[in-house]
């Protein structure tokens, strides 16, 4: 039995922390204090992996089947352990309570949007992108932001997160939602000179 727990790099290039090689890490702990540590470690792991792979959604289903985006962290074949759906469900609910994730769509608990950037951080990324690609003062559709011809840090961003980010920019007069023929668009303005 290996007694040394080491970090491990998975094929996607992500470095798993040593605790991922500890068999009991995958079991939901009956001691609340211990489980708090486990939950915190899983939360950090999920968010940093999501950021690494640019993943926005996580579903309980990801722990029920193989072949999904999350196998590299939800499973550890080297020690034959996996995160059980019930345990994942518990971790996700804890993340939602800390506003590190939100149930999407609402009124269900099997799928979440992950908040690996705060709305304020997304807002800066968004404004930076609009500025650097010369798209200030023009009207952009949500689709153009989410699926840009040239991949951007915002590629694939879900509408609710995008909407939050625009909301943040709107407060400082740097963006405005505009109704257009087939839905909604947004116009960005330069940072007001200070």
């Amino acid at each position: 039995m290996a007694s040394s727990l080491s970090p491990y790099t998975v094929p996607s290039g992500f470095l798993l922390p040593s605790i991922h090689s500890a068999p009991p890490f995958f079991t939901q702990q009956p001691n609340p204090t211990t489980q708090a540590t486990v939950t915190e470690q899983w939360t950090r792991l999920i968010l940093s992996y999501a950021r690494h792979r640019n993943l926005f959604t996580m579903r309980i289903e990801d722990a029920e089947t193989t072949g999904g985006d999350w196998d590299e962290i939800l499973r550890n074949e080297r020690i034959r352990r996996r995160l059980l759906p019930s345990h994942l469900s518990y971790i996700l609910s804890s993340m939602v309570s800390k506003n590190l994730a939100s149930y999407e769509p609402a009124k269900q608990t099997r799928s979440v949007l992950l908040h690996w950037r705060l709305p304020e951080e997304w807002a800066e990324v968004l404004h930076e992108w609009a500025t650097s690609t010369g798209q200030l003062n023009t009207i952009l559709t949500f689709y153009e932001i989410m699926e840009p011809a040239i991949p951007s840090p915002l590629s694939g961003i879900p509408v609710p997160l995008l909407r939050n980010a625009i909301g943040v920019l709107g407060k400082t007069g740097r963006a405005q939602i505009i109704s257009i023929a087939d839905g909604e668009g947004v116009r960005f303005f330069p940072r007001s000179g200070k």
């Binding site: 040593s18 009991p24 702990q29 009956p30 708090a36």
Partner: protein, 253 residues
Amino acid sequence: MHRLGGVGLAAFDRQQASQRSFAALSTALSQAQVEHLHAQLEQFRAALTRFATHHRAAIRRVPRFRHEFQQMCAAIGVDPLAGPRRGGWWEDALGLGDWQSELGVQIVDVCVSTRARNGGLVELQELVRLVSKLRGVEGGVVTEEDVVRSIKALKPLGAGYEVIDVGDGRKMVRNVVKELDEDQMVVLALAQEQGGRVDEELFVRRKGWAPDRARAALQNMLLRDGTCWLDEQDGLDGTGRAYWIPAAMQWDE
């Protein structure tokens, strides 16, 4: 001209006289050297103290700066934490307290930051390794003995810091107010031998315990103390039940 030593009784006097003057000369010489060294040491001490006093706040506040300072001190063979034990003037310069209690602070640092995962039990060797890493000074500076002495100094604080001999020469450091009963000592010793993983059957087979006794000891550690973690995916079919004692596992960070 006569022979240097001469002959007869007078020669003894002469020889003794010259020995005395040689001795006096050599004393004077070494005295001068010692004084010179003292002066140099004084200068060096003043410079180092000035530096330490000047940057005192930064040394105490900025971990990176503290680390660099410790590295510098290690390079010139001075222990930045040395207090009364060697020297004694550091305490005035840095206000860091003596070397031993400073080491104590580092021990507490390590214990507190690993407590969440080990429930307040850490293997002595592992603690020495982590403290040495924290100090960033080349190996051999902190020994098990140093750590044990510092832990003894922490005892009056009543936070439960204590070195526990779990048998077979294995030592663990407890850093929570929690009594360990004899059965838990046996669990810890066996867990260390097994690399952290134990199950009830192990104690029945190796120690002749009744299954209930093994279960009770492990459940106490699991539910009451948080010194052990449960694994429900043990065994070939992945549904077995095993217990892992983090304090007995080697964590590479």
